[in-house]
Amino acid sequence: MTQAFRIENSGLINRDKKLSFKFNGKTYFGYEGDTLASALLANGVHLVGRSFKYHRPRGFFGAGVDEPYAVVQLYRNGETEPNIKATEQELFEGLEAKSVNCWPSVNFDIGAINNFLKIFLPAGFYYKTFMWPKSFWYRIYEPFIRKAAGLGVASIKHDKERYEHKYEYCDLLIAGSGPSGLASAYAAAKNGAKVILAEDKPRFGGSLLTSDVNIGNQSGKDWAEGIIAELKTMPNVVVKNRSQIFGYYDHNMLVMSEKVSDHLPATKKYHPNKRLWYIRAKEVLISSGSIERPIVFGNNDTPGVILSSAAKEYLKVYGVLVGRKPLVFTNNDSGYETAIEFKKHGVDPVVLDSRKNPESEIIDEAKNLGINIKNSYVVVAAQGYKKVKSADIASISEDKKQLGKIENIQCDCICVSGFWTPTIHLTSQSGNKTKFKEEIDAFVPGQSKQNEITLGAANGVFTLEETLKTSFKAGSELSKKITENDNEIAIPNVVEKKSSQHDKFWCVPLPKGKNYKRFLDFQNDVAVSDIEIALREGYRSIEHVKRYTTLGMATDQGKTSNLNGLQLVSEIENKVVPAVGHTTFRPPYTPVSIGAIVGREVGKHSKPTRKSPMHSWHEKNNAVFVDAGVWLRPRYYKRGNENLFEGSKREAKNVRTNVGVCDVTTLGKIDIKGPDAAELLNRVYTNAWLKLPVGKARYGVMLREDGIVMDDGTTTRISENHYHMTTTTAQAANVLSHLEYYLQLVWPELNVNVVSTTEQWAGAAIAGPKSRDLLQKLFPNSDVSNEGLPFMGYIEGDLFGVKARIFRISFSGELAYEVNVESDYGNFMWEKIMEVGEEFKIQPYGTEALSTLRIEMGHVAGSELDGRTIPYDNALEGLVSKKKDFIGKRSLKRTAFTAEVRQRVVGVVPLDKQTSIPEGSHLVKDDKAPLPNPKLGHISASCWSVEYDNPFSLAILKDGKNMIGQKLFAMSPLKNKVIPVEIVSSHYVDPKGERVRS
C-alpha cells in the first residue's frame, strides 16, 4: 500500500524508519513517530468505527486526548486492550488494531439498522423502553444492549504486564509542556526549585509544534526543543513525556499515569508497562492548554468532518493530508491558520467564515495567498455516508437565523473550528470555582482552593506574548517563595500574528423541510434533538440532562461536546450559560488502565502474607493452608487421600484421646508493663483483675463502649508490673489501638506501656489427656504436676536450653498447655515437641480440628463474638463484674440488653444425628410457615462432634435460655436444606469443665 496522503517536506516523523501494521486485518505502512490515526489517514483510511447508538460510520475527529470516535481494540505482544484512542496510540512495528462497535464488520454493520430506526432511539430511550415487562430485562434487553453497545472487549486472560507505583514530592508540578508549561518550568528550575514537568504526548511543546510563531528569533518548535534540552540537564528537574496527570486530589496530591511501554512492540525486560505517580506538590501549575470546539451542523458526524486544529496537526506533525479538497468552516481565525497550511502544501482549501467582515493579520495572509474565502457562509450539512463527498452550504443572515439558498460544493473533508475551550478539568478537580468568560464563551478558572495556578490557554489567554510573560513570572515567583533564589530571566521577544474577535456562533439552523441529525456528543450519539426532548420532558438541572441524554458520558467525557450542550440548554431555557452551569469535572481526565491503578498489588501481592516461624515445617508435613486474616494457618495435615473432614476428625479425636499440638503463633500478643497495668486491665476487661497473683493467667472479655463484646483472651501476670495479654488473631490490631486510645486520650494518668509482641513469640498449644506427660519430658527440670502448675497457672521453663513460657490454658477443653518461645526458636520448639511427643502418639492439628474442639465444648469465638452480641448472649455474664466500672458497662443497662427474652448461645443437634447443619442456617419454629418465616436465631458454627460422632452446632437463639429441649427447624435456602433439630446446652462435652482441671 502506498501512503497516498503523506506529503514531502513536512512533519516530525522519522521517514527513515518504516513500520508495518494491521488494521481490520489489512496491512499498511507508516513511519516511526506516527500515531495509529496519522498512519491510517496517510493511507486514506477514514472509516474506523461505528457510533455507540446508531452505529453510524465514524472517522477521526481530533488528533489527541479529545478524540471521540477513533476508539479501537489493540493487539500487542499476544495481549489485547480495548478502548484505545487511535489518536493517542503510537505506531510500532507489528501493531494490530480492530474497529469496535461493529458487527460483522466496519463496512457492513448490522447495528446500523438503528440509524434508520432512530425515531425509536431518542433521549431516555433505554429508560422508557426497556423497563417492562420486568422479566424481559435479564433475558432479552440487557444481553442485547450489552452486545450492541459495547466498546471493545476486555481480555479475560491474566495480564502479563507489570505496573508500578511511585511516590514523589516536588516544589512545582507542571501539567503540560506547551508555551506556559515550558516558560514556568524554566523559570522555576533556574531558581533551583524541584520541578516535575509532565506532557501527555510523546513530543514536548504543545501548541508550539503547530503554530506559526517566533520566540527569541527561533521558530516556536526550536525554542521549545532548546528549553526541554536544557531542563533535561538540570538535576532538580524531572521531565516526563507520555505522562498524563489525570487526577487532582486533596492537599495537592496529583496522580499521573506514565505510559512506559505502550509505544513499543513489547515491554522491555524489567520495565513496567505503565507507572502511576502519586505526586505531592507544594505548588501546581496547570498549563493544560485548550481544545478546539466544533460548530454543530447537519450530519456533522460524517467521516471527514474533523477539527481544524487536528487537520493542522496531522499536516505539521505527521506530514499527512486529511483531504485533498478541504473545506474549512470557521467562526474565528484558527480556521485560516489551517487553510494557510493546506495552501502552503499545494492544496486549495475553501474557507467558510460565519463572520461578515473579519479583519486581521492572519486573514490578510490567507487573502494574499489567494485562498477562496466566503464570508457569512456556513455548512448546512455534510453529504456522503462513509466519507464526506460534498457539503451543502449557504449564506447566513447577520442574526444567524435565516439561511440563504443552498448550494452544494465538492469537498473530501470539512475542517471545523468553533473557537477554543480552555482545558480546566484539573483546575476544577482541585476545587477551584470556575467562572464564565464572556469574551471567549467558555469557563475559565476562578478562585483557587489549593496551591494551584492555571496559565496560558487553559486560563483563557490565547496570545503567546501574554502567555509567556505570565508564565515566566508565575514560575519565578512561586519558586522564589520556596527556594528564596531570584534569578532574573529575560523574557524572549515574541513574533505572532494578531487574531480578530471570534463569532459567538455555534450551531447552524436546520433548513426548511430538512431533518438532519446535528450531533453534540459524537461518541454517545447525542444530537440537538435529544437535548430538546429532555428539556421538553421537564429535565432542568444540567446534571440531570446529562444523565438522561448521556451527553458527555462517553470515554472522551465530552471534551468536544460539553460546551455546545450548555449553549443549547441556555438557548432553549433562555438563560445565560453561567446560569445553566457545567457538570462536575471528576478524575480521571482521561481513561486509566485498571492495571496501572492496581499496580503490583496483584495475586499473592494483593495483601501481605504472614507466616509463623513453623511454616516450613507445616509445608513439609502436608499441611493444607487456610487464610486467617493475612496469616496462613494449617487447616489440617493431609495423610494419604484424606479430605478435610476425615483429616480434621482424626486430628481432633487424637487430641481427645492422646495429645495434639497446634500452631497458635497467630494469636495477638500484647506486652503490658507499668505500675498501673492491673488498673488498666481492670477497666478494659469486664471481670476483676486487681487481685490476680503473679504466675497466674485469667480469661477476660472486653467490650466496646456500646456494650458489644469486642474480644476475649487470656492475660497472664508475668511479674509484679508485667502482664502478657493475648487477643484473637483477627482483633489483634484493633485491641492494641483500643488500649492506646484509652491510655493516650482518656486515662493518660495511668502509668502503663503497651506494645505488640505478636511476632516476637512463637506459640504451640499442647492439648489432650497425655499433654502433661509430654510436658514433663519436655521440661524435666520443671514441676508441671497439677499442684506445681495448676489450671490457669504460669511458669517459665527451660526447653533444651531455650527459655520458654508455659501457660496452662485451654481452648480445646482438654488438659492443655501453651508454650511460647522467642520466634527464632519456634521451629526448634516444634520439632522437639514432635520428637518427644512421638511416644504419646502426638499429631499436629490444624484450625479445623481446633474449631471442632472448641465448638463441642461450647467455647465462643469469632463467629459468636460477631460484633452484635453482648456478654449475656455468649453465656459470659458470669464474667461481668457488678462491683467495678469498666469500658461499656453503662451500655449493658440499655433496655434491649436487659430484655427478658434476650438471644443466647445454645447447642443444636440434628434429630437424625446425621445431617450436618450449614453455618448461617436460620432456626424457625415451622418449616412450612409462609415467607418471610419468622427467624428465631442462626447457626453460628458447625462441626462433627468427635466425642459423640454426630453433627453438632452452636447457634445464637432468641430466648435461648428457655429453649433447651425444644424442637425446631434449621433452614438453609442457600443449600436448599430443611433439617429438624433439637436445642441442647452449648456445653455439649464435659459440661462441668473437669478435664481442664484434671
Partner: protein, 89 residues
C-alpha cells in the same frame, strides 16, 4: 489523599493514619452515675458538622500516637494538629 502534620513525625500522607472520630467527645468518668441521655450522647450522638471540626486520628503506621486534627469537613483543609495531651485553644 490528605496530608497530615503529625506533631511527633511531621507531614505524612493519610494512608498512614486511621480515623478516630470527634475529638471533643469526653468520656464520662468511671463509677459516675450518668443518665441515659448523657450516655447516649457519649456513645452515639454526633453532630456531623459541616465546617471546622476537631477530630482524632491515630498514626498507626508511624508513631502510633493518637493526635487531634482541626479539619474542615467540607473543604478538607487542615488548620492545626495537636498532640493527644495538648490543650486546644
Amino acid at each position: 489523599m490528605l496530608y497530615i502534620n503529625c506533631p511527633h513525625c511531621g507531614m505524612r500522607s493519610q494512608n498512614e493514619f486511621s480515623y478516630g472520630g470527634d475529638a471533643s467527645v469526653k468520656r464520662p468518668e468511671l463509677n459516675k452515675e450518668v443518665s441515659d441521655q448523657e450516655w447516649d450522647n457519649f456513645v452515639y450522638n454526633r453532630k456531623s458538622l459541616r465546617g471546622k471540626h476537631l477530630e482524632l486520628w491515630q498514626h498507626i503506621s508511624g508513631c502510633r500516637q493518637w493526635i487531634k486534627v482541626e479539619r474542615d469537613t467540607a473543604t478538607h483543609e487542615i488548620f492545626r494538629t495537636f498532640k493527644a495531651d495538648e490543650e486546644v485553644a
